[in-house]
Symmetry: C2
Subunit: 445 residues, 2 copies
């Protein structure tokens, strides 16, 4: 990669340069488009990209800057949006054969928030079918024979390949943390309800989260601060003060953080090289990491997640099922079939168990630990493009709505990136970023 | 009734007298207890009442008043609580054989809010079994051969018989509006989520509401202002500014209100004398009332309500079902049996339909009307104590979470009270009270 291309810079840096008049948004978008022309044939991260429309947005931003008008924190900075996030000016096809040619009339809440902050919506990134498991065309930028992970495949790959500094995706099982880890970028899944999902394809009200991709923690904080907030039509969001992600995440922790290393009952499935890499990390952190068993009350998390996911997706995709089930992938068909048989009492029992477990995790954090440390996935990105990998290490944190971040700090034997996942207390998202930044600088030293 | 007994006065009036030192809480509670000794043998409104404990609370309140400390708006005023509302100092048995002798450790949120406002928790009022349909011992104060309605039977009857000026109940179908109408008092079911349900027996998160009983609108406003609010453990409440019920409800409407008279598809089941009384009311209101068809999108409300109620109650009472179903009434058993068979997709489909209907009702209110006018029940309290009457005229407003108030403005041929129900726009509870007050004074003139 051309080391001087603005496409390779962080969002924080390009936002600063634009603000200070050292770079125009048009130059930046041109650099991103140039990079895309170079690597997209191999990576295939985008499902919609209109170069002229992107440049037109950039020129409007530059015009505004020149006019002296107030500009937002993301002024002129391009962002990629997973193609389940509605955009009024681009198609949004949800990776679904039945939604081909779908053109929403309105922006999703997060798209509108990004535009309000000055961002350029560069284009739409590849999603698996309906953000479930059936893969799209995207390949891992580190090795095209490996999956980028899913379901936010294109967002992770586009950021990893420096096609765009920031992207949004989603996570209902492991759809942000896993592809971010496989592609070697920073991924962030906030507390449930922190970022509104209005205008985004709904899989599961209980489990759906907006996810963030960037190449550094500053950039995640910059992006998170603009998309967190309340929206009337997302009943899981609530009015709250602006979360000062940038400020809190850049502070030094008052004490050196303590990590609860939770291997989970699925540890035996983790690849040997990943186990070894985590053992080294554990050693490096010394007394600051302690191995902690997963709370017994959380042991059924994977089952509860399965019940809720199947029944809520069966409900969300009822129309698609009734009108064109044969055009859905066999994987999605089989999930919906299972979901349609779930009884309401079993579904509600799974939901009912969640608050007490969340309380127990709160105690874990209050007692002793700043973050849970755990793998982001079973190992590096698996070979092959027929599947997107296993979300098993993300499932419980998604279910409990706890904030999670993956950091590209380790590597597998094959040289592919391995993600270190930190999980924080609900509602303490900015503090999780602060802890993550500490870990990044600690392991860099 | 002794016209000079403070038990017969409004809560607003006794609160004023206590505040001004013209009455002590002990005198007031003594008067209420005297009234209870007189009429309770016939009415049977209470399931727990400890005279000494009530008087002790009153003496503490009087002591505080004498000390010159700040006092709350309900200082020294007795309130009855339906026996599904937890109290740390009294049993809470939920009208359920399996909960006999249950003594909660903590007050329900509303009980704590009442105490914080200075109220005396006089005792616990009779509920039907688990606030469903199987009747308790209470009789209608206007005629002991007639049902008081349910499920908040004791709260409605105790207020109607001047045993206590204020009481709380609940509504999941028609459990506040119907007994208030049958007993000839004012009943108020607020917007869903306005009053926290923490510490109250849960039947259905979607449908449960706290309900208020009083003998006038001032008193409803006084009580509502103290119990509305956010509580962490009721996820349907949210932080908000204090609702100025007393101020708004006492203002004159800027324009004479317009009423949308909605007879609903169940009008043919309404008793002939009730139909005649409503026809007179309609005539009296002249151009200020217009007959409006129930929105077509709301036609399935009764079915959706049935699906949600059965499946959520089956979930809420799963433990009782597993551990002692034979000690539940046949009615409750049969509901739970049905609820256990509901599929999660059918349950979720019912939930999914609600927001759009609520939006449509919002438009009705924005376009032209201040309130919906509709009967509170099919007629006056039915004869017999084996059933508590039909909630069919309350069901949709409960389901849509819209605020509803019943006013004892009419009478049936048998001399028993007939309730006029007004239904307002969600979140506009205080304004509904203002409209209700207008109607009360208009019909009084």
């Amino acid at each position: 990669m051309d080391q001087v291309s603005p496409a390779a810079l962080s969002a924080t840096e390009v936002a600063r340069r634009i603000r200070e008049g050292l770079l125009t948004s048009e130059e930046l978008v041109q650099a991103c488009l140039e990079r895309i022309r170079q690597v997209e044939p191999q990576v295939q991260a985008w499902t919609f990209l209109d170069e002229e429309h992107a440049l037109a947005q950039a020129r409007v931003a530059d015009e505004r800057k020149r006019s002296g008008a107030e500009i937002g924190p993301l002024h002129g900075v391009p962002v990629g949006l997973k193609d389940i996030i509605d955009t009024a000016d681009m198609p949004t096809e949800n990776g679904c054969a039945l939604h081909k040619g779908r053109t929403p009339r309105a922006d999703a809440a997060v798209a509108a928030m990004l535009r309000a902050a000055g961002a350029i919506i560069l284009g739409k990134t590849v999603t698996t079918e309906c953000a479930y498991f059936s893969p799209g065309k995207t390949r891992n930028p580190h090795n095209p024979e490996h999956t980028p992970g899913g379901s936010s495949s294109g967002s992770a790959a586009a950021v990893a390949a420096s096609m765009v500094p920031l992207a949004l995706g989603s996570q209902t099982a492991g759809s942000t943390i896993r592809p971010a880890a496989y592609c070697g970028v920073y991924g962030f899944k906030p507390t449930h309800g922190l970022i509104p999902r209005t205008g985004i394809l709904q899989l599961s009200r209980t489990l759906d989260h907006v996810g963030l991709f960037a190449r550094g923690i500053d950039d995640l904080a910059l992006l998170a601060e603009e998309v967190a907030g309340h929206h009337d039509r997302d009943p899981d969001t609530r009015p709250r003060a602006r979360v000062p992600f940038r400020q809190v995440s850049s502070e030094e922790p008052p004490l050196e953080p303590m990590f609860a290393y939770i291997k989970t009952p699925h540890w035996q499935r983790v690849d040997a090289d990943a186990k070894a890499a985590f053992a080294e990390l554990q050693e490096e952190l010394g007394a600051q990491v302690e191995e902690v068993e997963l709370l017994p009350s959380a042991a059924d998390a994977w089952d509860w997640h399965g019940t809720i996911l199947a029944s809520e997706m069966a409900s969300s995709f009822e129309r698609e099922w009734l009108e064109g089930r044969d055009r859905l992938s066999p994987q999605l068909q089989s999930l919906i079939e299972r979901g349609r048989e779930v009884r309401a009492v079993d579904y509600q029992r799974a939901l009912r168990c969640l608050p007490d477990v969340v309380d127990s995790f709160d105690e874990l954090f209050m007692d002793r630990y700043d973050a849970i440390l755990t793998p982001a996935a079973l190992g590096t990105a698996p070979k092959g493009l027929g599947a997107t990998g296993d979300p098993v290490f993300c499932t419980p944190w998604t279910l409990f709505g706890m904030p999670a971040i993956t950091l590209p700090l380790l590597k597998g034997e094959n040289g592919l990136p391995l993600g270190v996942q930190l999980v924080g207390r609900r509602e303490f998202d900015a503090r999780l970023m602060r802890t993550a930044r500490w870990l990044v600088s600690r392991t860099a030293s």
